[in-house]
């Protein structure tokens, strides 16, 4: 107690002043740190781990065997991989229909009628319910013998179609189920966007004689660009990571014809019969590469927009 506390307190002063002088520089990093650490541990590092695993032959339990690019070589010669890839492309293209459809409904709902909030929430409803429930509902809808859709087709043509058992229609049947909530999602994005459309510009355009399609195309849509951008991003990513509906409605069947890459990856690496971690990882890497094309496109566009401002 009686000992002079000078050295300690001087050290303290030094550290405090170091903190003072660097505070402004350090504070943002400190605030970012928790998020960055989480992102690194749960996203960045696993990406590289997956790439690493994809060079191995590994059943997830025993020894890993280094096989270099063999998993990728096998992918090139794997019909199931091409089926999945083709289905992913179909998903991507058809899923984008959610954007015009969501826009139409949003414009339709963007009016002041009594009870409009109720109607809006009803249209939004499919997005709120879980994908699992959506999948179940649609598989009953398509079910042979008792499904509404099956019965309807039977009534019209005399011959029912079991959509989920037919390799020609199965992917489209699942995409239709996926579009239902996706349209609702896009609709909400556009509804908030429409709230921000400047009324004076609409007024001015109206005075200049613009209406209908021209009004939509030249006046409304340009103002909705941020909403459209987000809608495209979520739809493209939603299409590429489609998994739950495939898993629930068909399990990739019939005979693997409704597989998509994410489902095929799961099947190979983690499912009941899948013990091929390396091969699954290779599929994941391919899927990641495809996603990267889009994601970097989006980031580039965002960066450009920021720079323009």
């Amino acid at each position: 107690m009686t000992r002079p506390a000078l050295p300690a307190s001087s050290a303290e002063r030094v550290s405090r002043s170091w903190w003072r002088s660097n505070q402004r520089r350090l504070a943002p990093w400190l605030f970012l740190a928790p998020g960055m650490i989480m992102f690194a541990v749960y996203v960045i590092i696993p990406i590289f781990q997956s790439m690493w695993i994809s060079f191995y032959d590994w059943d997830g339990l025993g020894e890993k065997i280094w096989i270099g690019l063999d998993n990728y070589r096998e992918l090139l010669d794997d019909d199931a991989f091409y089926t999945s890839l083709k289905n992913n492309v179909i998903w991507l293209v058809l899923y984008l229909l959610a954007i015009p459809a969501g826009l139409m409904i949003a414009i339709f709902l963007n009016q002041n009628v009594w009870g409009m909030r109720l109607y809006k929430s009803l249209f939004f409803f499919p997005f709120v319910i879980s994908q699992v429930v959506v999948g179940l509902m649609f598989s009953w809808f398509y079910a042979p013998d008792f499904g509404l859709f099956y019965r309807l087709i039977e009534l019209l043509t005399g011959q029912g179609i079991a959509v989920l058992a037919d390799e020609r229609y199965v992917t489209y049947g699942i995409i239709a189920a996926g579009l239902w909530p996706q349209i609702a999602y896009v609709m909400i994005l556009y509804l908030t966007g429409l709230n921000n459309v400047a009324p004076d510009q609409v007024e001015a355009a109206r005075l200049d004689g613009a209406r209908g399609w021209r009004m939509l195309w030249y006046v409304i849509l340009p103002q909705l660009r941020p909403a459209t951008f987000i809608a495209v991003v979520v739809t493209v990513i939603g299409a590429l990571r489609s998994f739950d509906l495939v898993s629930i409605m068909t399990d990739g069947g019939p005979y693997g014809s409704s597989r998509v890459l994410s489902f095929y990856m799961y099947e190979q690496a983690l499912s009941e019969y899948g013990y091929r971690m390396g091969y699954g990882a290779a599929i994941a890497v391919v899927l990641f590469a495809i996603m990267m094309v889009f994601i970097s496109g989006f980031i580039w566009k965002m960066w450009r927009d920021e720079a323009e401002r």
């Binding site: 059943d59 997830g60 339990l61 025993g62 096998e74 019909d79 598989s139 398509y142 079910a143 042979p144 013998d145 079991a162 959509v163 989920l164 058992a165 390799e167 068909t250 399990d251 069947g253 019939p254 005979y255 693997g256 099947e267 983690l270 499912s271 009941e272 019969y273 899948g274 013990y275 091929r276």
Partner: protein, 419 residues
């Protein structure tokens, strides 16, 4: 890693002795035996009863059963075996346990077999529980497969009922034509989950080329493009047109309801389906069972009898009591009681079987069979099973794709078995 494990074992042992000492003092403390399983409601109740009996016989042991969802269990087991191993875990016999055995995650329990004279009592299951000349678990139940049929559908189509020995294959195909004329699916199945289709393939394969050939095929020794494989599919093609058309969109229970409603006449299924048929309103009066008809004359009759098993994970902490539990499960009395409750067959040959006609028929069919197969997805490695069962499903939808299917399976065979 090994340091950690020994440390933990010593700790567990110390804890065990401490508990045992405390047990004598207080008679309250019990040694815990953690058991992970995947029972459906009826077997769960039966197993809980068995556990109660075991605890009554061993008052110092407390069995903690942690029951998983049946499908979820199949993926969960891979995590918990390495991350947090229980003392006991459910799984399946034959090739289905091979990945865990080869990864060293199941414990060799041959000593339980020796000490309890199980090589004799469980003789029918020795082969399916053996890898590398060691036994890796204890079978507690199995069940027969065969053809379940609806007698009312026979009446509706005006087809003569099968006799006590079933029907001949030619007669079966002939009958199918009559069922079709009456608007009834001769054979139903629901292949959404793929495996029901493998039941049909297995029987066609066992009847066309025999058990040894079938085992060679699932063991990867026969090319799928071989002429003998085509013979099996040629028989399948005879009944393919009479199989429920949209089976790829149906779960096995959906197809069961087709049989119950009389929209279908036959169903190649395991005996666990009887419960579903009866829940749907069928009785011993109109539900029939027959063994799958002979195809190639003179081939010894083999049957499918998938066996459910209990194993000790290598990471188990209370191995001694786990082995005690396995010995109890293997005993004739415990198996008699358990299987009477779940309506399946005991694997212990000194057990007695229930009074149910389907259990009796199954016992009859299996005890006179020349050999027992486990089921395609247990006899073949997991990856091969998946690819092949997809092929079976495709063949039943599009038999014209046979060449493509077989080429694909052959490619898979060359990759999967070369290791």
């Amino acid at each position: 890693m090994s340091m950690k494990r020994t440390g933990r074992t010593i700790g567990a042992l110390a804890l065990g002795t401490a508990l045992a000492l405390a047990g004598t003092a207080m008679a309250q403390e019990k040694r815990v035996l953690r058991y992970y399983a995947d029972y459906d409601p009826i077997p769960l109740a039966a197993m809980e009863e068995l556990i109660a009996d075991f605890e009554a016989a061993n008052p110092d042991i407390d069995v903690q059963l942690n029951n998983f969802d049946h499908e979820g269990y199949k993926t969960a087991i891979r995590n918990f075996l390495s991350a947090d191993a229980p003392d006991l875990a459910n799984w399946y016999a034959a090739n289905r346990m091979r990945p865990f055995v080869e990864a060293g995650q199941f414990m060799d329990v041959s000593d339980v077999w020796q000490e309890n004279n199980l090589y004799d009592a469980l003789s029918s299951s020795v082969a399916s529980m053996t890898i590398d000349d060691k036994q890796w678990g204890i079978p507690y139940t199995y069940y027969q497969w065969g053809i379940y049929y609806n007698r009312d559908a026979y009446k509706a189509a005006g087809v003569e009922l099968p006799g006590p020995d079933g029907v001949s294959w030619d007669q079966f195909v002939e009958n199918c034509k009559k069922f079709q004329a009456a608007g009834i699916d001769c054979l139903t199945t629901g292949t959404k989950a793929l495996w029901p289709g493998a039941g049909i393939f297995d029987y066609l394969s066992l009847r066309t080329n025999g058990y040894d050939w079938h085992m060679k095929l699932t063991g990867g020794e026969i090319p799928w493009t071989d002429e003998s494989v085509r013979k099996v599919f040629a028989e399948w093609a005879k009944i393919q047109p009479y199989i429920t058309k949209d089976h790829a969109a149906l779960d096995w229970q959906d197809a069961a309801s087709l049989l119950v409603q009389g929209k279908a006449a036959h169903y190649v299924m395991g005996n666990f389906a009887v419960g579903v048929f009866k829940e749907g309103g069928m009785t011993n009066e109109n539900l029939g069972f027959m063994v799958f008809p002979e195809i190639t004359p003179g081939i010894p009759r083999a049957e499918e009898a998938p066996t459910d098993t209990i194993h000790i994970p290598s990471g188990a902490k209370n191995v001694e009591d786990a082995k005690k539990f396995l010995a109890f499960v293997a005993s004739a009395d415990a198996q008699t009681k358990l299987n009477a409750k779940i309506g399946q067959l005991p694997t212990n040959k000194y057990s007695t079987v229930g009074d149910d006609p389907f259990i009796k028929a199954g016992f009859e069919s299996l005890s006179t069979a020349s050999a027992l197969a486990q089921f395609f997805d247990r006899d073949a490695p997991a990856e091969m099973a998946k690819v092949a069962m997809e092929g079976f499903q495709e063949f039943m939808v599009k038999p014209e794709n046979l060449d493509r299917i077989l080429d694909r399976l052959e490619k898979a065979r060359q990759r999967i078995y070369k290791k």
